[in-house]
Symmetry: C2
Subunit: 141 residues, 2 copies
């Protein structure tokens, strides 16, 4: 997927990590918690409209990202959502949550009033972990 | 699925519509917009932890509910999410959205400050539609 095909608002908010089999993987710049965003390769808007074989591919990637977050980043809980009310391009939120995090137990959208950023090293470390665990291809966007 | 196995907080908030192949289908009592909640038959908490074959079944049911909402209830947009920060039992939100609805473009959680209720007839009509479109089995919970 060409990064130019991704909505500018998502690119403004996120680091581009690379590609996974079903699309492009982004990381929200707010490092208060780990908030990944998968942009599936599709011209459809809603994830539930995907044909079953593509939905399987998307689910498999999201599940692998979730497992990585639980195993390597120690999150007990993952929030998963496809909304798209603000940015219509299909994108799926995969967000690590734990009791006492910056907006627990509220959903993240509109409720994170704390901001911290990733160092370049931190982003690279996440990419390396995802290459191993999820099959991320870095720099192929 | 025995309705007794469903978290009381979900039952307090929802009408029980019946069962679909992957679990029990609920309808949030707030009729400001159509907000279905699928409770998959699973002891796991996070949808992304489901084994692939069960995830397919869940996705297929959610996609059928979404298609019903788009085709029969005229929603242009469906929000889909598995959160579970407040109620840990796995449950998936499938929510009809349109520009100008009660909390557009915000996510629904915590943002609906308007309440209206379904008549019994309205609930029955939805059940009848879902029996035809989604294979809902009424009264088997």
């Amino acid at each position: 997927m060409d990064v130019d095909s991704i909505d500018k608002r998502l690119l403004d908010d996120c680091h581009v990590l690379g590609t996974v089999p079903s699309g492009t993987l982004l990381l929200n710049r707010n490092a208060s918690l780990h908030w990944f965003i998968l942009v599936p390769q599709s011209k459809l808007f809603d994830v539930l409209d995907l044909p079953l074989n593509q939905a399987q591919l998307v689910f498999t990637d999201c599940a692998a990202i979730s497992a990585y977050m639980k195993e390597e980043l120690s999150y007990p809980k993952i929030n998963f959502a496809g909304l798209g009310n603000q940015v219509p391009q299909m994108h799926l939120h995969i967000v690590g949550r734990h009791v006492g995090d910056v907006c627990w137990p509220d959903p993240i959208w509109g409720n994170i009033h704390h901001s911290s950023i990733y160092t370049n090293d931190k982003v690279r470390t996440l990419q390396e972990g995802l290459v191993k665990s999820v099959g991320l291809v870095v720099g192929a966007v």
